[in-house]
C-alpha cells in the first residue's frame, strides 16, 4: 500500500493512471457492446453525438463509441504483443552482448545494427502487402516486434557494458557470485527502470506504427483499431464534412494514450531507482 501511496504523490503518475484506467475500461466495455464491430448499417448513418449514440455514428452506419472500445482493445493487444515479445529479444540480446563482449557481441550487434539502418517503414509496408491475406492482430504484433528490439538491445547492451566495469561488479565476482546470478540479481534491478521505460516507449511506437499502416490500408480494415477508424474517416472525407466526432475520436484517444504512457514510464522509472526516488517523488 505504501508503494501505491508514494507513487500517487507524483501528479504525472496520478494523471496517467486515471487516463489509462479509463482507456482500459473502454477496452473492457467492448465485451458488452450491443453491436458486432464488423457489421455495417446497424445504426443510422452520420448522426451527431446524442444520448443514444454517445459519440455519434459514422458513414458506415456504426456507433463510434462502441467502435472505439473495440479499437482501443485491438490496438492495445497489438502493441502489447509487439512490446513484450520485442522486450524479451532486446533484453536477451543486450545482456548477452554486453556481458559476453568479444565475438558474440560483434555478431549480435551486427544483426541489430543491420535492423537499425534498413528503412524500417518501407520494409514494413512491403511485408504488410505480402502477408496481407493472413494479416491479423497477432501477426501484426509479431511483425512489429521483429523490428522493434534493435535499438533497445543496443541501449541495454551499453548499460551492461558500463555496469561490467563498475567496482560493485568486481566486489560481487570477488565474493564468488556466479555469472548468471550476477546478471540476474545485480544487473537486473539496475536495468529494470530502463527496460520498463523502453517497454512503454515501444508500446507507443507500436500503436503509432499500427495507425500508420492502417491509414495506408495495409491491414484488415474490417477489424476496428485506432488506425482503421481513422482510415475510414479519411476515406469518407470526414474532415471536410466537419464530422469531427469521427476523426477526433481515434486521434484524441491516441494522444492521451501516448501522454499517459510516457508519464507513467517516467514516473515509475524514477520511483524504481532508489537514488531518484527521494529527489523527484519525495519519498
Amino acid at each position: 500500500m505504501r508503494v501505491i501511496r508514494d507513487l500517487f504523490r507524483d501528479y504525472r503518475f496520478t494523471f496517467s493512471f486515471i487516463v489509462l484506467l479509463l482507456i482500459l475500461t473502454m477496452a473492457v466495455l467492448s465485451f458488452f457492446s450491443p453491436y458486432d464491430p464488423t457489421m455495417w448499417f446497424v445504426v443510422p448513418r452520420d448522426m451527431k453525438p446524442s444520448a443514444e449514440y454517445l459519440l455519434g455514428t459514422d458513414s458506415n452506419g456504426q456507433d463510434i463509441f462502441w467502435q472505439a472500445t473495440f479499437a482501443v482493445r485491438n490496438s492495445l493487444i497489438i502493441s502489447l504483443i509487439a512490446a513484450s515479445v520485442s522486450r524479451v529479444i532486446a533484453v536477451l540480446v543486450g545482456m548477452v552482448a554486453g556481458y559476453a563482449r568479444g565475438n558474440p557481441d560483434r555478431i549480435l550487434m551486427f544483426i541489430s545494427d543491420g535492423l537499425l539502418v534498413i528503412p524500417l517503414f518501407l520494409i514494413l509496408v512491403m511485408l504488410a502487402m505480402i502477408i496481407r491475406k493472413n494479416m491479423n492482430l497477432v501477426v501484426l504484433g509479431l511483425m512489429l516486434s521483429a523490428f522493434g528490439w534493435a535499438w533497445d538491445a543496443r541501449v541495454i547492451r551499453s548499460v551492461i557494458l558500463s555496469l561490467r566495469e563498475r567496482d560493485f561488479t568486481k566486489t560481487a565476482i570477488l565474493s564468488g557470485t556466479g555469472t548468471v546470478e550476477l546478471v540476474l540479481k545485480e544487473y537486473m534491478p539496475y536495468t529494470t527502470p530502463l527496460i520498463f521505460s523502453t517497454l512503454i516507449n515501444n508500446i507507443s511506437w507500436a500503436i503509432g506504427l499500427e495507425m500508420t499502416l492502417a491509414l495506408l490500408g495495409l491491414v484488415d480494415v474490417n477489424i476496428p483499431t485506432l488506425g482503421t477508424i481513422l482510415n475510414w474517416a479519411i476515406t469518407y472525407q470526414a474532415m471536410f464534412l466537419g464530422r469531427w466526432n469521427w476523426v477526433l475520436t481515434p486521434v484524441v484517444l491516441a494522444v492521451f494514450m501516448f501522454i499517459a504512457l510516457y508519464w507513467l514510464s517516467v514516473s515509475i522509472s524514477e520511483y524504481l531507482d532508489p537514488r531518484t526516488r527521494i529527489q523527484r517523488v519525495g519519498v
Binding site: 566486489t171 560481487a172 565474493s175 532508489p274
Partner: protein
C-alpha cells in the same frame, strides 16, 4: 607472530605481466617480476611502494583473478585451504575459484561510491553473497550472524535497510569490510582500504580490521602507500619497487633499521616530531615497467650505486632475523657466488 611459520599464501617466482598491443607493437609491462612471497597465518602483511610499482597487479595475482591484458607468465601461487596441503591456485577451475572466494580468500575493496550495487539495499547485497555460497536454511543463520556482527562493529542496525548512497564514506568502507569478513575467510586482501578517508575514519577502519584479524586469527594482506597506516596495522611489511619485493621485514625493523637504500629514502621522507629538517626524496623518477634498467632496477636512482648493481639483480640476504633485503650492499660476495 612469525614463529608458527605456517604459510597460508605463498608465491613462487611469480611473474605477471601486462601484454599490450599498441599500434601493432607489442608492449610488455613487467608489473610483477619474480616475486617470492610467504605470508603466514595469523598476521597482517603490508605491501608498500610508490604508485605504479605493481602493488595492485600483485594483489590481483594473489587473488587469482588474472584477466587479460594481465597474464601469468610463470610462477606459482599456493593457497593452504583449511590448514591442509598447499594447492596450486593457478590450476583451479573457474567453479573452484568461485567457491574459494569469500569463503577462503576475500577482497576488501576500496570503499568508493560504486563498490556496492547502488540500486540494492545493503541487506540485499548481503543476501546475494550468502546465497552464492550457502544453500538451504543455513542462509538465515548466516544472515543473523551478519546482523550481530554489524552491531559488534558499532554500526547502527538499520544500516542493512539503506541504500549505499545514503551512507557516508567511512560507514560504506566499514560495511564493505564487514561484508568481506562475512564467511570468516582465512585470507583477506585489501587494496588501499583507507585511501580517500580522513584520518579519524581511517583509524576506525584500521581498528576494525585489526579486530577482525584478532577474532578470526586469519591473514590480512593490505596494500597502501600510506606508511602511517602501515605502521599502525602491519606485522610485517614488504617494500615493493618496480615489480619486485626489495625488502621484507617486521614493521619495527622497517621503521627503525631500513636496509635497502630505497626503503631508507622512504622512511626518511616521513615527518618526525621535533625534526625540522627538509625531507629529501628519492632523486629521479620511477622506472618504466616496460623498459626496466639492467641489474637492480633501483640503480639509476641509488646514491650508493656500485658497478655490479648495473649488471646483476642481487639475491636476498638476511642482515637480521626476519629481515631480507635484495641489495648488493649486504653480503655482496655471497650473491656473486650464488649468481
Amino acid at each position: 607472530m612469525t614463529n608458527e611459520k605456517i604459510s597460508t599464501l605463498r608465491t613462487d617466482h611469480l611473474h605477471s605481466y601486462y601484454v599490450l598491443e599498441m599500434y601493432g607493437k607489442q608492449k610488455v609491462v613487467k608489473a610483477v617480476n619474480d616475486v617470492d612471497l610467504k605470508i603466514y597465518e595469523n598476521e597482517i602483511y603490508g605491501i608498500a611502494g610508490e604508485s605504479g610499482c605493481g602493488k595492485t597487479t600483485l594483489l590481483k595475482a594473489l587473488f587469482n583473478d588474472i584477466m587479460p591484458p594481465q597474464r601469468l607468465i610463470s610462477g606459482k601461487i599456493y593457497y593452504r585451504v583449511n590448514g591442509g596441503k598447499e594447492i596450486d591456485a593457478t590450476t583451479l577451475k573457474p567453479e573452484e575459484k568461485r567457491k574459494l572466494r569469500l569463503e577462503f580468500i576475500s577482497n576488501i575493496p576500496q570503499g568508493s561510491m560504486s563498490v556496492l550495487n547502488p540500486v540494492l539495499k545493503i541487506k540485499e547485497t548481503y543476501m546475494d553473497f550468502i546465497a552464492s555460497h550457502v544453500r538451504g536454511p543455513e542462509r538465515g543463520e548466516i544472515f543473523e550472524r551478519a546482523r550481530k556482527q554489524i552491531l559488534e562493529f558499532g554500526l547502527p542496525q538499520n544500516i542493512l535497510d539503506v541504500y549505499p548512497h545514503q551512507l557516508s564514506g567511512g560507514m560504506r568502507q566499514r560495511v564493505t569490510i564487514a561484508l568481506s569478513a562475512l564467511l570468516k575467510p582465512r585470507i583477506m586482501i585489501g587494496d588501499e582500504p583507507t585511501t580517500a578517508l580522513d584520518v579519524v575514519v581511517q583509524r576506525g577502519v584500521i581498528q576494525m580490521m585489526k579486530e577482525i584479524q584478532k577474532n578470526l586469527k586469519n591473514t590480512i594482506v593490505i596494500v597502501t602507500h600510506d606508511m602511517g597506516v602501515q605502521a599502525n596495522i602491519a606485522d610485517r611489511i614488504g617494500i615493493m619497487y618496480a615489480g619486485k619485493i626489495v625488502e621484507e621485514a617486521t614493521t619495527g625493523q622497517i621503521f627503525s633499521q631500513p636496509q635497502h637504500p630505497y626503503t631508507q629514502f622512504l622512511i626518511n621522507s616521513l615527518p618526525k616530531f621535533g625534526d625540522k629538517h627538509l625531507r629529501s626524496s628519492v632523486p629521479g623518477s620511477p622506472p618504466s615497467l616496460v623498459d626496466l634498467p639492467d641489474g637492480c632496477p633501483f640503480h639509476p636512482r641509488c646514491p650508493k650505486v656500485m658497478e655490479i648493481c648495473r649488471q646483476q639483480m642481487p639475491d636476498f640476504s638476511h642482515p637480521a632475523e626476519n629481515q631480507k633485503v635484495a641489495c648488493w650492499l649486504y653480503g655482496g660476495e655471497k650473491h656473486a657466488n650464488a649468481a
